[in-house]
Symmetry: C2
Subunit: 195 residues, 2 copies
């Protein structure tokens, strides 16, 4: 299983305007989901993707996608944005820590990244991308891991410090700072080659 | 210099509907351009991208982007689609083999892929992605090369045969068939690591 987290600092937490996905950088969010799940004519069933939205007006929200059950999404930004809006609409009245099912393989919860990671770090290795990390091609991934990605602003210092306390592993993709969605593609390719 | 070609079998050759980029798979086209040029907060100046559109109503069209002059585009699908429409509008009345400048680093021409490749193959190695090719990580790219990519339908048999006659090199990304845009990301990452 390959598990990804995207921390979106400004991503909307209520339905947003589908005609301008650059607001709140929902375009970036959509591309990451596309990169996590899509190969040619198929969805990667061995992927889980957790999106943490921390923008206005109602943070935090976690939207989780499970590849083994996911249907009816396409790799384009707008199709994914429509699905996110459906989630945010259904998740309007969520109470703290509550999670509801939106559709096949899609859930929305009111949960912060810190709370989520505290729980998940008990039995999974937390990995995040950092220029000072070990080279991706040399890193031996354990059986259970979650890769944490930041948006265009990167991970906030507070989250990075939290990751250090969880003994998270820094992994490097080299000197270039890639778009978050491209980081996912590069990670997938490396893991595909090994399997 | 890294040079890419995308052969789009159905991509529109006159301005198209920006509200549904899946028609003619202009979403796929836009993602490829995004993958070719964008890294975090920057455009790759050492990239040239040639898009060959062969869909209705007015094929063929070549739109060429030069990273060293490119300004005013963003990585999201819609922003790129708007730019493509601007090109197609300006290229409405083109005669065969005519090329005009649309904006900084962007040109449109009425030219087929075959005609383009015949000219370019004289001083550049033509490379295309194929499962039976040499492993990307083992291939020594020459100084001047062009990587040819197909859309969701792959490259037509006629084009593949043409590539063989040009003594094009088959390069493999492994067993997985990736989205065209993801192929570009993987190629870039391999070349980034070497430079």
């Amino acid at each position: 299983m390959k598990e990804f987290v995207l921390f979106s600092s400004r991503g909307f937490t209520l339905p947003f305007d589908l005609n301008d996905l650059t607001q709140g950088r929902m375009d970036l969010v959509a591309r990451c989901i596309s990169a996590a799940f899509f190969i040619s004519y198929a969805i990667r069933k061995d992927v889980i993707f957790h999106l943490f939205l921390n923008g206005p007006p109602n943070p935090p929200r976690r939207i989780s996608f499970y590849g083994n059950e996911l249907v009816g999404i396409e790799p384009n930004e707008k199709s994914i944005a429509i699905k996110l809006n459906e989630c945010l609409e259904k998740g309007k009245g969520l109470k703290l820590s509550e999670e509801i099912k939106v559709g096949n393989g899609i859930f929305i919860a009111k949960e912060s990244l810190e709370k989520f990671l505290k729980r998940e770090a008990k039995n999974k290795k937390i990995v995040y991308l950092h220029r000072d990390g070990v080279d991706l091609r040399k890193y031996e991934f354990p059986e259970n891991f979650i890769v944490i990605l930041g948006d265009h602003k990167g991970l906030p210092e507070k989250i990075e410090k939290f990751l250090e306390r969880l003994n998270a592993k820094k992994v490097s993709l080299g000197k270039i700072e890639y778009l978050a969605s491209h980081c996912i593609v590069i990670l997938h390719n490396e893991l595909d080659r090994r399997s």
